[in-house]
């Protein structure tokens, strides 16, 4: 048992424990819980990064019970990249949330008034979600993935309803229904695979090389279920409302991290288990992703609400993740490593950029107490740091060098050229232009020089710092491309 093993257990245990601490109420309990989750996640990601870099893929049988009867954790470069992304974004969001709910944080564990439910329950729910996300990235078998996925879905739906409005309640309920049906489809697929092969561990299934009628049906069922949870076009209907009505730190988590959890499982299935499935399958995923890029971006341009615009942008950016599949598995060829690095890099850089944008938008809407895009006119002069964070996050999203988005799109473009799939290159370019268009649309309003409107609320400094920190990282993520790509390739296809 090496150090990495202990950290992998702590990564699930500490946030969950933190949730229990935070649930005790009181501002200090919440701060201690968040600090515990953030500190262990950060240290654990670094420790696992070091272990994976030295020893390659890590396996750890919980309680000494290995597969097929016990639960085995499996950690490769992709897992560590996702864990590190969650730790980074999660730490910043945790800091931001203590500022966002500052005036509402309960001083004691006594009952808090109805309207302050967000302040009281955001931290426990988010920490549970954090533990579940870490669990997803560490899981080495399908059933454990199901359980962690379900914990994630329940906590995420509850985060949506923290704002006590009819809109939030309905959006949260709709999200929960989609999420539960998606889990059931996933579980049915797991049952079919078990019926066929008698194993659940990802590596044993990979060795079995699933093919034929029942396993392909299982893949289809699981993919549809997970696509609904990832809001892949045309199953994205629930996302814009759900992500827009949550409190700002909740929106950041949902858009940046939660959808990546189910995407991660899609990748594990298609890349690891089925080795690309069939060419028709990956092209279908790519076409849906392409449609999401175009539809989501066009819908962004039509939005009046700032947070809905950012939420639709998530629909569009998630599309790129699925465009990765046809590039990764070209017709009759071997897996394209550029597409793999580019797709995963995009998942990471989108998480950082999108959370920066949602946090900055949260600061701006808190300041003007409105969510309409025209209402934020002039905020650039009064909240320059938040404006900068939103702008830099937007540039990272659009793929302006040296941002992480630039590296991701460049790798995807290169793989499109390498595999001779030119249409995808055109799509990537058009998507990038549309992204620039909707980011500039918001910045134009914010830059307007208007008289200070009444009721302009100052926001706590740490909110602005958290958003700006993430935005700077998203822009500078491209400068550490070599290290990040090396990590993503560890244990990946063709690596």
């Amino acid at each position: 048992m090496t150090g990495g093993d202990i950290w992998s257990v702590l990564l699930v245990l500490a946030p969950t424990l933190g949730a229990l601490v935070a649930l005790q109420g009181g501002g200090w309990a919440i701060r201690i819980g968040l600090a515990l989750g953030a500190a262990v996640s950060a240290l654990g990601s670094v420790a696992l990064w070091v272990s994976v870099a030295q020893e390659g893929v890590l396996r750890y049988a919980l309680g000494g019970w290995g597969a097929p009867l016990g639960i085995e954790l499996r950690i490769d470069g992709f897992s560590v990249a996702m864990l590190a992304m969650t730790a980074l974004v999660g730490g910043a969001v945790s800091l931001y949330s203590t500022g966002y709910f500052r005036d509402l944080l309960p001083q004691s564990s006594d009952e808090v008034p109805h309207g302050e439910r967000g302040a009281r329950y955001f931290a426990p729910l988010w920490l549970l979600l954090w533990g579940a996300l870490n669990g997803v990235y560490l899981s080495g078998d399908l059933f454990n993935l199901y359980v962690t996925l379900e914990v994630m879905g329940l906590a995420a739906a509850a985060v949506v309803t923290l704002a006590v409005t009819s809109e939030a309640t309905v959006a949260g309920m709709r999200y929960l229904m989609v999420s539960l049906v998606g889990s059931m489809l996933f579980l049915l697929g797991v049952a079919l695979l078990y019926a066929n092969y008698g194993v659940l561990a990802l590596e044993s299934l990979q060795a079995a090389g699933p093919s034929g009628g029942l396993p392909v049906l299982a893949l289809a069922l699981m993919t549809v279920g997970l696509a609904a949870k990832t809001a892949l076009f045309p199953l994205h209907g629930w996302l814009p409302s759900a992500h827009a009505v949550a409190p700002a730190p909740g929106s950041a988590i949902l858009s940046a991290l939660v959808v990546k959890g189910s995407f991660y499982i899609v990748v594990r299935l298609w890349v690891d288990l089925y080795g690309g499935g069939s060419r028709g399958g990956v092209v279908f995923l790519g076409v849906m992703g392409g449609a999401a890029v175009l539809w989501g971006s066009l819908m962004c341009l039509r939005q009046v609400s700032l947070k809905r615009l950012i939420a639709y942008s998530t629909v569009a950016q998630l599309g790129y993740l699925f465009v990765m599949f046809p590039l990764l598995f070209p017709a009759g060829g071997v897996a394209n490593t550029d597409a793999w690095a580019g797709g995963i890099y995009h998942a990471l850089s989108h998480a950082v950029a999108k959370s920066a944008m949602f946090l900055a938008a949260g600061s701006m809407t808190v300041a003007v107490a409105k969510d309409a895009i025209p209402a934020i006119s002039g905020t650039a002069h009064r909240l320059p740091m938040s404006f900068l964070a939103f702008g830099l996050g937007g540039l990272g999203l659009a793929g302006i060098p040296p941002s992480g988005g630039f590296i991701a799109k460049w790798l995807l473009l290169r793989s499109a050229v390498e595999t001779g799939q030119w249409l995808w290159a055109v799509l990537l370019a058009v998507g990038g232009l549309l992204t620039v268009a909707y980011v500039l649309m918001v910045l134009r309003y914010a830059l307007e020089r208007t008289e200070p409107s009444e009721g302009f609320q100052p926001v706590p400094r740490r909110m602005e710092w958290a958003a700006l920190g993430l935005a700077l990282i998203s822009v500078l993520l491209g400068t550490r491309a070599v290290e990040v790509i090396a990590l993503i390739q560890l244990g990946g296809p063709g690596g």
């Binding site: 097929p68 009867l69 059933f143 199901y146 359980v147 379900e150 329940l154 739906a157 509850a158 309803t161 409005t165 009819s166 809109e167 309640t169 309905v170 949260g172 309920m173 709709r174 929960l176 229904m177 539960l180 049906v181 889990s183 059931m184 579980l187 049915l188 049952a191 079919l192 078990y194 019926a195 066929n196 092969y197 008698g198 659940l200 209907g237 409302s241």
Partner: protein
Amino acid sequence: MTALGLYTFAGAGLFALGFWAVAVRAHLVWKVFAINIMGSGVFLILLSTPARGDPAQADPVPQAMVLTGIVVAVAATAVALGMALRVVARTGRPFLPEEGDLETRE
């Protein structure tokens, strides 16, 4: 048809029935029930898998999975019913309104 085959088909039938109901029934409690029926279908299929070794002997792994699955389903049902109550409290109706419907009711 063997008894196990019967379970498998019954499970698939239950799953399809639940999926159909969750899609067409508007009442939230019906939807929650329907999701539970989908779950029961999966559990039945899991219990009918004699995949490991001797078919005369029960395989403990699916049973463990079903037990865990039931625990998860109970928790999910509790959350869903609690949120359904919240929807009734906020909108006065146990249905999910269409997008854009809400403004007219407030």
